[in-house]
């Protein structure tokens, strides 16, 4: 097997829900290797989340057209049947979202939600096996007393804990790819670092490739080996993380780097 997990070629995404079509992702190419952490940075509206949603197969079909190829693990995702897609979703691709407050269902217990992927993708498992795996998964994201958290409702947990629960439920089927769509934006700085470290550990231990989407360059620098800079629907720069930070080729990248707050007294 080759070591390329995800290969995106000439991806275009267009919206058709208004009078004039809107071209929001333009000719995006990217490659993600197995076991790699790739960062996508860019401002709001640069098309980075949309690209991720296209990979996950989450775009509505009736008013959005996509063009190009997304090859995941040797399979073409774009234009795949929904039944095909469903086998991959949750099993081979896991996703975590930005807002931990709304990404868990308020009416269901944590354990039930963590187990949901197992119910879909591992129907042969019985209740006890699912319980064991869910608790194990909660433990692996460094939550204390996983058995107790298993029976709790989302409103009883803090933001950081919920994001850990999200990671646990995305990782329970041990996917090959984890898409993290700004997973730290809604959290405070210390929790952000913990989540980043957790993702790093999961990447090391389970060999999961991670697509880390963020506008926080300092976090991306810490976590990712390679970085993709997006602006206005295009990939403007791509390269090893060190390279991009020390020698940015594009004006836009330079501006982004300059925008990182520094611990200096500004001159007035």
């Amino acid at each position: 097997m080759d070591d390329i997990l995800l290969d995106i070629k000439n991806l275009n995404i267009e919206f058709h829900d208004h009078d004039a079509p809107e071209h929001v992702v333009k000719n995006v190419n990217m490659v993600l290797k197995r076991g790699e952490i790739l960062g996508i940075v860019g401002e709001s509206g640069s098309g980075k989340s949309l690209t991720a949603m296209a990979i996950a197969g989450l775009l509505r079909r009736h008013d959005i057209t996509t063009d190009g190829r997304i090859i995941f693990d040797g399979k073409e995702l774009l234009g795949a049947k929904r039944s095909e897609l469903r086998k991959i979703q949750g099993n081979d691709i896991g996703v975590i979202f930005q807002e931990p407050m709304t990404s868990l269902n308020p009416t269901k217990r944590i354990g039930w939600q963590v187990e949901e992927s197992l119910r879909i993708h591992r129907p042969e498992m019985d209740k006890a096996q699912r319980y064991r795996l869910a608790v194990e998964s909660l433990k692996s994201v460094e939550l204390d007393e996983p058995e107790r958290i298993y029976g709790k409702y989302p409103h009883e947990l803090s933001g950081g804990m919920r994001q850990r629960v999200m990671i646990a439920s995305a990782m329970i089927c041990e996917p090959k790819l984890l898409i993290a769509d700004e997973p730290t934006t809604a959290l405070d700085v210390t929790i952000q670092m913990q989540i980043v470290k957790l993702l790093q550990r999961l990447n090391r231990e389970k060999k999961t490739s991670i697509l880390f989407i963020s506008h926080d360059l300092s976090l991306v620098k810490r976590l990712c080996g390679r970085i993709l800079v997006m602006h206005d629907g295009r990939v403007v720069e791509e390269g090893a993380s060190e390279e991009i930070f020390t020698d940015p080729k594009q004006d836009y990248t330079r501006k982004l780097i300059d925008a990182i707050p520094k611990l200096e007294k500004p001159e007035i």
Binding site: H62, Q89, I93, F97, N105, T107, K108, Q113, H121, S169
Partner: protein
């Protein structure tokens, strides 16, 4: 603090009234002091007494027994109406709200047409086509009730389908049906529950209205509406008849209204 206390008070009062009414209804199914259709000419228009708690009507039938039986009839009809309305309304609202698109447009315009018709009028048309009787009343009112539930549920589904937890359920490969019924539906319960209560009230009133017009429950069967329509001929000779029957309708509706209100705010 003050307002919060008041809300829970609504809930408690509603719960008490509803429980008493439910107890009377269930009692009516198994036991009535007299046979509700048995006539006793010596007791015609008898005033309320220990023997006849609410007195007797123009045929000498015990009003209390008839109220018990009639409430049961009214309750069953209202319940069946609401069940038809809620089940179909939830199905229609969930599917249209969740999927959207042209299906949503078409179904909701049909919905608007039905909604624009007064429900009693719609039921009247239905009855004149299919004839009177308990079951036709249930069917007619049930159909008239579908649009309001469909609308409420659709709105909720539109709100929830974009939530991240719904997205992540889809990303976990969960099927549409399972998302609709297992992931989203429980979230709509708070809104749905109080509108079910209000719908139930409307059904009680609509049934009473239809029976009052003589197209609901047919004599000698009793329902609160048909009894009220009978009672109006004897307002002066036996005021108790109308008063007690009306009181029962009021209490039944009031109990559920308070309950719905308490649930919504509490």
């Amino acid at each position: 603090m003050q307002t919060k206390k008041k809300h829970s008070l609504n809930l408690i009062i509603g719960l008490i009234i509803t429980c008493i009414m439910l107890f009377l209804i269930i009692l009516g199914f198994f036991y009535t002091p007299y046979d509700p259709t048995k006539m006793d000419s010596s007791a015609k228009f008898a005033a309320p007494s220990i023997k006849h708690l609410m007195g007797c009507d123009n045929f000498g039938r015990d009003i209390f027994s008839r109220v018990l039986k009639g409430m049961g009839n009214t309750f069953v009809i209202a319940l069946a109406t609401v069940v038809i309305g809620v089940v179909s309304g939830v199905l229609i609202g969930a599917v249209t709200g969740y999927f959207g698109g042209w299906l949503d447009e078409v179904v909701m315009r049909i919905n608007d047409v039905v909604f624009a018709f007064p429900s009693i009028l719609l039921a009247l048309v239905f009855i004149s086509l299919f004839g009177t009787g308990k079951y036709n009343v249930v069917l007619a009112l049930g159909i008239a009730f579908i649009p309001s539930f469909a609308r409420i549920v659709r709105g909720e589904f539109i709100k929830y389908r974009e939530m991240d937890y719904v997205k992540s359920a889809r990303l976990a490969g969960v099927s549409h049906l399972r998302i609709i019924f297992v992931h989203i539906l429980p979230n709509t319960m708070t809104v749905l529950l109080s509108s079910i209560m209000i719908g139930f009230n409307n059904a009680v009133l609509a049934e009473a209205g239809m029976s009052y017009l003589g197209i609901g429950v047919q004599p000698p069967d009793a329902s609160l509406g048909s009894m009220l329509s009978e009672a109006q001929g004897y307002l002066f000779s036996a005021p108790g008849y109308a008063v007690f029957t009306g009181l029962m309708i009021i209490l039944l509706v009031l109990g559920f209204s308070l309950l719905a209100d308490g649930l919504k705010k509490g």
